[in-house]
Symmetry: C2
Subunit: 305 residues, 2 copies
């Protein structure tokens, strides 16, 4: 594969049987490669990561979306993560030999086909949308429960499909964006109020870091809470800084950080920045990493014959 | 290239002209790829990293060694790092589709040819040597200055070449080993006594970490000192732990860590362990890293046609 696009669809399920069925559609698609699936009961949400070329990425996304529409009923859905539909949000991300324009094209192709095949209203967001409609929060306002009302407003006419919620799948949001990092940090408290206060301190629109979205959630089976974050520009806002501010704010409530995890894939650059910060390393770029440098040398070797 | 061996020769020079001449020999060798060169005046030592296949790795090592023998005169050499010759130590490291046995073979082939072509005594060390002669410290005892005397002892007969120091190039140590990490940590003090005390606390043979060699050195132009380390098994002894013990010991003397740097390449696993420790990340393996997972998927794609 020369051209690589990444797709990270979020589905409103954490049912093992449904998860398997969705993943299976991606595995079956030619030239599509599943990299990761992350799903949790407390969010009741599945985040899938896969890569493909310009054609296969759209095909695999459509195949998996069709299965989700078939198996998920939003009327019965509960979960702590904001969501608008069964196939909630589907971003396309440029990885290699493609631009954001190629990803916008893939997003529109996917959105148009999804709407046509299943009568689902589709909203574009991010780089694929007009500026005034680009915010995911704006599109998702009121969530699935308010969708039937919201969708009637003229300024909220979907980009593809009917101006009417799908009876079981709601609506879908499709877009193009750059690589981002998803990091969830677990706090050693069951007090959701504290966790939401800390999340607020980080959230861009509440005065936090410009490139961070943060929310508080409960993990009832472990009696702890979690700050779920997406960091859209981890080069401008490195993960260690976000983590240390969480620690700083948590100390105020005598709450400790008990663990963290990536949601989806970890971008290499975000890890380099963490290691370089804590060990004060002056000379750490991608080319300093043995495995990366060796692979680059191999590719050079293959190209020269 | 299917089979990949890494070679990390250490040369006793920091003279820019000599460095360039040595590197040029590697760049000129077919199927050999230069990854990095690190050299410092205070050590007066050049550490080169390159990769190649079973044949090209030996050829590039021989070509660069010949140039070093031609241009370096050990009679005029001073430097803080222990050394025995112009081409001081040459380890071969398995990277891909090769074993340590292949690297021992490459080491012996290189050692035998170097001895034959230049009349240089060559010692094997590490996995290539008998157990009682495997320690680099043992081989280098007394350094270049004592070589003429030491080499006459029967138990110190070289593995290849004459039992007599080369008049300008001394002796060379050749071996095979696994990937290791070289980390230098700079301390905000010019007091070498303090730095040597801290280095002792880390050094395996002085009661420190089993897989760590550490030494203290001065960086006169910056009026600071440095702890130079090699960590032969960074999975058993992760770099964050070594770094935090340095911090712990340095605090006792009110000395701060002012920076650190990798000497040679940084193994990916060593960085993952650093990031996972400080951010308490539970799910961070190589396959979680986007760039690594994408390249693996690409290779799968190429193999399946």
């Amino acid at each position: 594969m020369k051209d690589i696009i990444e797709c990270v669809p979020n589905f409103s399920t954490s049912d093992q049987r449904v998860v398997e069925a969705i993943l299976s559609e991606i595995k079956k698609t030619a030239d599509a490669y599943l990299l990761d699936q992350t799903f949790d009961e407390y969010y009741n949400r599945l985040v899938v990561t896969f890569v493909g070329n310009k054609e296969s990425i759209v095909q695999a996304a459509l195949n998996s979306a069709a299965k989700a529409v078939e198996l998920i009923d939003m009327n019965k859905h509960k979960g702590q993560h904001p969501r608008l539909g069964a196939v909630d949000v589907v971003p396309f991300i440029p990885i290699r030999n493609v631009t954001i324009v190629d990803c916008i094209e893939a997003a529109k192709k996917f959105g148009r086909s999804l709407a046509e095949q299943h009568d689902i209203p589709v909203y574009l967001y991010g780089a694929a949308a007009k500026p005034e409609r680009s915010s995911l929060d704006w599109v998702r306002k009121g969530e699935y429960e308010a969708l039937a009302e919201m969708i009637k407003k003229p300024e909220r006419k979907p980009d593809f499909g009917p101006a009417m919620a799908h009876p079981t799948a709601g609506a879908t949001i499709v877009g193009a964006r750059k690589i981002m990092a998803g990091l969830n940090v677990n706090l050693g408290t069951s007090n959701l109020k504290i966790t939401k206060k800390i999340a607020k301190a980080l959230h861009a629109e509440k005065g936090g870091f410009t490139t961070v979205k943060a929310m508080g959630a409960e993990i009832p089976e472990r009696k702890i809470t979690q700050i779920g974050m997406s960091i859209t520009d981890f080069e401008k806002t490195p993960l260690y800084r976000v983590f240390e501010v969480i620690r700083l704010e948590a100390e105020r409530y005598n709450v400790s950080i008990v663990g963290s995890e990536f949601c989806g894939m970890a971008p290499l650059k975000s890890l380099i920045d963490i290691a370089a910060y804590y060990l004060k390393i002056d000379n750490l770029g991608e080319d300093r990493i043995l495995e990366i440098a060796v692979r680059k040398a191999m590719e050079k070797g293959e190209n020269s014959g």
